[in-house]
């Protein structure tokens, strides 16, 4: 399967990344190689194989519905690039 530059541009859109001309070119080439490499797995017959969606065989690991202390707002917002002291701040969404 051929990876076209439009594919890379589309994927960059989905990933919220801007790519320079040069990056698009490099990534298109890289992706072509990597995807061809990845295609190897399609040699394997997995018709009757179950998926391993999880790394562990455990299940039903739950938490009790008990309140724990929240983080102080100051600490929460300390890393925010922009805030008004109460909330994270963004430019207008209009």
């Amino acid at each position: 399967m051929e990876i076209r530059r439009e594919d890379i541009e589309h994927i960059a859109d989905l990933s919220m990344l801007n790519l320079s001309e040069e990056e698009i070119e490099t990534y298109t080439k890289n992706m072509q190689e990597i995807v061809e490499f990845a295609n190897q797995i399609n040699e394997l017959d997995t018709e009757n194989t179950l998926v391993s969606a999880f790394a562990s065989d455990a299940y039903n690991v739950f938490r009790k519905d008990e309140v724990r202390e929240s983080l102080s707002r100051d600490l929460l917002l300390k890393n925010a690039p922009s805030s008004n002291g109460e909330a994270y701040a963004l430019p207008s969404m209009e």
């Binding site: 999880f54 455990a58 039903n60 009790k64 929240s70 707002r73 963004l90």
Partner: protein, 476 residues
């Protein structure tokens, strides 16, 4: 051309757990922005979700109450998209293995019974809130609601009108309240619906292209947005145009729906199994236990009210439409033993008062017990029905016990025959014409005399005794 309207709903209900779905932050509504937050619900690097067991239980309760099959081996999936109210850039939801599938609810629309199919119910986390910042014109992000547990109830496209949709949502609301998994406060957004709607020419088998109007949080907006969208699509089709599959927004103030144009690729959510959370495997025993713990559902209450308490279907339907009201009915009825009277009061004065004084049934200014006492006062002859209305108004204003109100205001009914006789004699003597009229067959004269006596006694006279004594004189 005649069109058939096809409607399917996705209803989101916030679950009334104590804590959020994946962390121990409180699930309380309100509070200052960003004070119910922690590394998990704000998507801090390295933080991991842990599923609240109550969320599974509540979703299964909802599923069983809506006749669903419960998925024995279920899992959670990530739904990836970028939006500032979604701190991890993915919502944790369920994709191909929702907790509940294939249910149904019965609704009654204008006297006609219909069954609405439930495709699935799954669990997921709610997003935060974006608020317009009046100072800067910018947007502020409040993550208090981020991570609040939701169930999404997806219906089959079984509804054909706004009335169907409203009846369906009312029904869901009732069930969720009854089984105690959501408080369904629509004004707080804890119950909201997305409407999928399409038209097709009558007789056509295939569905037309549907639109999805998102986030409707009142019955009124559900009904109005549906009416609007039906007319809009009709107009498009009749003009020979094409309905586009799109997401729409409803502006309740303007009474109009708007297209939210998004890029065509924006819907590629790249679902995949959430690797931070392990599968949910529910045993037969677990499901059986929840089934056993389910409270009586509205339908069965309604049937009981009709068969055991002899309520008319309409009245029973009104009472069960709100769990709070129905609970009130049962408790007050138990206190006074006169369910019929409680029902009559609900149908008239209580419903009216709730509108007039703007209170919710789960937060009435008087308790069910107090109200039961009010009925007892009437039934024991201590006050008359008309005085009771005065006492009821007083209960709303003060929240005081009816006995106390009667006592303080001197509203107790006079049942002393001697005292009443005195008044009757005086009134009859002052109205000789009434006796003539009565004897001439004018029954109205009796009513007039009773009214005059009552007026004299400031409404406190026992009406039965009054009647009896006046008739004695008249029939002499």
């Amino acid at each position: 051309m005649e069109y058939e309207v096809i409607i399917g709903l996705e209803v989101h209900a916030e679950l009334s757990t104590k804590t959020k779905i994946y962390c121990g932050c409180t699930n309380e509504y309100g509070s200052d922005p960003n004070t119910h937050c922690c590394p998990v619900c704000t998507g801090m690097p390295g933080a991991l979700p842990v599923l609240n067991e109550k969320v599974v239980e509540y979703a299964v309760r909802a599923g069983l109450a809506m006749d669903c099959d419960i998925t024995r081996e279920s899992k959670q999936d990530r739904k990836n998209y970028f939006y500032p109210d979604t701190p991890r850039a993915y919502q944790i939801s369920q994709f191909d293995l929702p907790l509940c599938v294939g249910g149904k609810v019965d609704v009654n629309v204008e006297g006609e019974n219909k069954t609405i199919g439930i495709t699935r119910i799954h669990i997921e986390d709610d997003a935060g809130k974006l608020v317009h910042d009046a100072y800067t014109g910018g947007t502020l992000v409040d993550l208090n609601r981020a991570g609040v547990p939701l169930i999404e109830i997806v219906s089959e496209p079984d509804m054909r009108s706004a009335a169907d949709a409203v009846a369906y949502v009312e029904k869901l609301k009732g069930i969720l309240e009854y089984i105690g998994v959501s408080d369904c406060k629509m004004q707080e957004g804890s119950l909201r619906a997305d409407v999928n709607l399409s038209l097709r020419p009558v007789g056509q088998k295939e569905f037309g292209t549907r639109t999805e109007t998102k986030n409707l949080n009142s019955f009124r907006s559900i009904a109005r947005s549906i009416e609007f969208e039906i007319e809009r699509q009709k107009a498009v089709l009749e003009a020979g145009g094409v309905v586009y599959q799109e997401t729409r927004r409803w502006d309740d103030e303007k009474g109009e729906g708007f297209s939210m144009r998004t890029k065509e690729n924006a819907n590629d959510y790249r679902y995949f199994p959430e690797p931070d959370l392990l599968p949910i495997n529910l045993s037969e025993e677990y499901i059986e236990n929840i089934k056993k713990s389910l409270p009586e559902l509205p339908e069965s209450r309604k049937a009981r009210y009709m068969s055991e308490l002899n309520l008319p279907e309409y009245d029973a339907g009104i009472i069960i439409s709100s769990k709070a009201l129905s609970d009130f009915f049962e408790e007050a009825g138990k206190v006074c033993g006169n369910y019929k009277a409680v029902s009559n009061w609900i149908m008239s004065d209580i419903i009216r008062a709730s509108r007039e004084y703007e209170f919710e049934y789960d937060n009435m200014p008087y308790t069910a017990e107090q109200f039961g006492h009010l009925i007892q006062l009437i039934d024991s002859g201590k006050i008359s029905g008309s005085i009771a209305k005065t006492v009821f108004e007083e209960m709303i204003k003060t929240g005081n016990e009816p006995e106390k109100i009667v006592e303080e205001k001197g509203l107790a009914q006079v049942s002393d025959e001697g005292a009443i006789k005195e008044v009757v004699d005086r009134v009859v003597a002052a109205n000789p014409q009434s006796i003539i009229d009565y004897k001439a067959g004018k029954d109205r004269a009796l009513g007039f005399l009773v009214g005059q006596c009552m007026k004299e006694m400031k409404g406190k006279g026992n009406p039965q005794i009054l009647n009896k004594l006046i008739l004695e004189i008249l029939n002499k």
